[in-house]
Point group: C3
Chain length 140, copies 3
Amino acid sequence: MRHARRELWFEVPQRRAYLNITPEVEVFVRESGIIEGLRLVNPMHITAAVYVNDDEQGLIADIDDWLERLAPHEPVAQDRHNNGEDNADAHLKRQLMAPRSCSRSPTAGSTSAPGSRSSTPSSTAADASACCSRRSASSR
Amino acid sequence: MRHARRELWFEVPQRRAYLNITPEVEVFVRESGIIEGLRLVNPMHITAAVYVNDDEQGLIADIDDWLERLAPHEPVAQDRHNNGEDNADAHLKRQLMAPRSCSRSPTAGSTSAPGSRSSTPSSTAADASACCSRRSASSR
Amino acid sequence: MRHARRELWFEVPQRRAYLNITPEVEVFVRESGIIEGLRLVNPMHITAAVYVNDDEQGLIADIDDWLERLAPHEPVAQDRHNNGEDNADAHLKRQLMAPRSCSRSPTAGSTSAPGSRSSTPSSTAADASACCSRRSASSR
């Protein structure tokens, strides 16, 4: 069975950032030549998350406020993980974002045998986004 | 390799509803004829979630209260995404529910080679449920 | 296509415990002889979760406090699921932990054809942990 893998790396200057990585994922899938299959987008840092939702600035502001309300950064001293680090909240925020995305290329038919091909282009209902903290801005 | 895909659509009158979709998923798997494999149940709306937990009315009431406590609907004006819409909370509630389900058909043995078949029927430890908001009651 | 499956069972005396199960998963993958593929680690109890994060005692204490703050055990009578049981909070805590882990064995190259093999050993960016409640301390 064919498979493909690519490392995407991101660097952000802020403590937190929300990046729409759907175009890069789509380019990779197209270049892989794979028509049918599972697409797993896994964040490789434990203060980062890959999630699927609207790339709309109002919603991103709501998500950011909400993450800060449920897993606040301050006071830094409240967290026992912050022993030489100050990113305990980012480990918790990651858990809230249900960190990985798995989807399947849609097909024209409902069941197909090995070797069958679909001409339906891949489409996503929403954007795959990476929620990065400053300390985990890269993905591999 | 064989694969199968089916779109399940749901319409609910309420703003939120909890549907047990395990029977429909099981019918689909049976009809696909696939004995071994991964089963991905992905919600195709970004205010919906597929989760695995007890289909017990007390628990569902607890989950519903809890979602409302952590990501309240009111006041609608608090959310910047609610610009012509009023469902920002549903986008957040979706994230809390860890939105997709992935499982594997159990087998009799622990390791098997291509072409091997198991006669053990598929069983799930719990029910797969779809948590739908009114605006995203369909799944495809 | 080859596949392999193993049941891992855990018993813990406490109401909640955080177990690092990465070594057992790695042993299983090595013994399976599978070099390339997807690795799904699914908790088979609905008050347990498998998550990927740091196995650091400060962080685990922070996670435990945080789970208790967002989905408190007491008062037990607040939850309608606690009708002969007292673990409604564990069902909610499970949802917060984004319950399953899916990852892929890394490869040396980015795309490979069927039958290709990578000599790069499997490595994980972080530890896979099982968050168990007393009533659901086993995984199968």
